[in-house]
Amino acid sequence: MSRATHPLVLLALVVLAVLFGRVIPAWTLSLATVAASKALVALGIVVLARTGNVSFGQGLFFAAGGYGVALIANEWGLTDAVAQVLIGAVCGGLLGLIIGPLIARYTGIFFGMLTLALSMVFYGALVKTTVLGGSDGFNVGRPTLFGAVFNDPREADFMLYAVSVVATGLAGIFSTILFRSQFGLTSLAVRENNLRVEYLGTSANRIVSINFAIAAVFAGASGALALMAQRHIDPEFAYWTTSGEFVFVAVLAGTQSVAAVFVSALVLELVRSFSNLYLPNTWQLVLGLFLLAVILFLPRGIGSLWNRKKRRVAEPPEPVAVQKEEGVSP
């Protein structure tokens, strides 16, 4: 593990990012909070994508986390931000643990469509459930932090920013360790050739399920963050366009770098904010063009800018007896 990505160094970066919130303009705080929250879901999609599967329905876990926290907050008066993030993560994770093993056997477009379908079923159920506010949703109270109440809007924004950055930062550190681990390597192997993984004696479905649950935990925690930021929840949390935005961030980032996910989420929010400001009627067009440009010039995502595979292509290896070209018959 290089020094630059040692967990303690990354932890120090998270602390710095939190302190940075004290000096940046007020309007950027909420933007950064939203970006961090979206990055958390997108990070989960990247974790899952390393097994070769893309979820188009992370809105399901995002909404599960948000609704779970909102219900507990309203019923039991639990307003602590850290507790809410943890509860959101647990809600998303539990749902992920149930759904993951059921869909892990599917791959490619079937996997993606199943996740999308499940999120839309959940959306439909939420819309029809009047006790949860139906399509209007319901409101929740202002979050607190370790008993402290934040009445000053600037302080409240900073608290939310800090909680979002810490939660997303910790998820980023965990993902960095995960990607480099034996488990992370086997996840890539599943993406490359899941049948061979099975022939080696490892369950590819189990690897996918675990990654799926991790992605669900991240999405659930993010749902809690979004709930705290908006203090309102409605079925839009589970709608397919919400899931689409997370995939958008993940596609921008690529699967090579954790940092790229944060950069992509921030860039996306900046592009969205400025294009909304200067081109209010065509900001989606600007976003679309931006995505096209990234796909065209950085097909492996923004992360490929600084994370080019370090391959030792130094000296050609000594000749071996079998150097015939690719004449393998099918």
């Binding site: 360790i177 390597l185 004696g201 490892t202 292509v313 079998v322 150097q323």
Partner: protein
């Protein structure tokens, strides 16, 4: 003595095509058995059924006396049967060492630690040792996509060896290797495999390779066993010459 692998009355049909027709084989420990036959004779179907990829329509497959005919490839691998493939089945964007690393970690009970980096520690050393057995250490950190076909073939076989199997099935280990390099490749494979004293079943089309390396030959034709015995006997069999080797010898 119980054979390592015992196959009894194996049947498999794909519509009108009979891929296995009452196939029965006992393979004692330590034997190097070669399966020969024309394309579509049923060799790979046999390998696929033994490794759990295909389920036989009827018949029994036993490993060390225990039935395995309905098990998945994963279970079969855990019980001690490994295979390599006619077309190497590798993790193409990973390096050769990483491919072996995945195989080694799978072999060690599938305990996939999140805390231990993949590129350090015991698994990496074991992966390099396996590559060394095939004189491939120089290729360790090269992505498999950059390796020549013959080298990939050896990496594929090395991965199958990671689990130290009781029975190793090699599907055409010399296909894609130039004629002049076939013996060198096979020498390397046999030498590498001999360290684990595994029983070997290999599918081969080159009768010179068959004569040199097999203890026993089973000839397939239209899903049934045409001949079974020592190479010198089977390769001289009239039916084998007619339907399999085409009078090659």
């Amino acid at each position: 003595m119980t054979p390592v692998l015992s196959v009894r009355g194996l049947q498999k049909r794909f519509g009108a095509v009979v891929a296995a027709d009452n196939v029965s084989i006992d393979i004692p420990a330590g034997q190097k058995l070669c399966l020969i036959g024309a394309n579509g004779a049923g060799k790979t179907t046999f390998v696929n059924m033994v490794t759990g990829y295909m389920k036989p329509d009827s018949g029994a497959i036993e490993l060390d006396g225990s039935p395995i005919g309905r098990r998945s490839p994963r279970d079969v691998a855990r019980l001690g049967i490994s295979r390599s493939f006619q077309i190497p089945q590798l993790f193409i964007e990973l390096t050769a060492a990483e491919n072996l690393n995945v195989a080694v970690s799978s072999a060690e009970g599938g305990k996939l630690s999140v805390a231990i980096p993949a590129d350090s520690g015991d698994h990496r050393n074991k992966a390099l040792a396996l590559l060394q057995r095939f004189d491939l250490k120089g290729h360790a950190d090269r992505p498999v996509s950059e390796l020549a076909g013959g080298v990939r073939k050896l990496v594929d076989i090395a991965m199958a060896l990671a689990r130290r199997p009781k029975l190793l099935l090699l599907d055409e280990p010399t296909s894609g290797v130039s004629a002049e390099e076939k013996f060198a490749t096979m020498d390397r494979v046999i030498h590498a495999v001999s360290e684990d004293a595994a029983t070997i079943v290999f599918v081969e089309h080159d009768m010179d390779i068959v004569s040199k390396y097999a203890d026993r030959v089973v000839a397939f034709y239209n899903g049934r066993i045409l001949a079974d015995g020592e190479p010198s006997t089977v390769l001289k069999d009239n039916e084998v010459r007619r339907y399999v080797t085409g009078g090659a010898r």
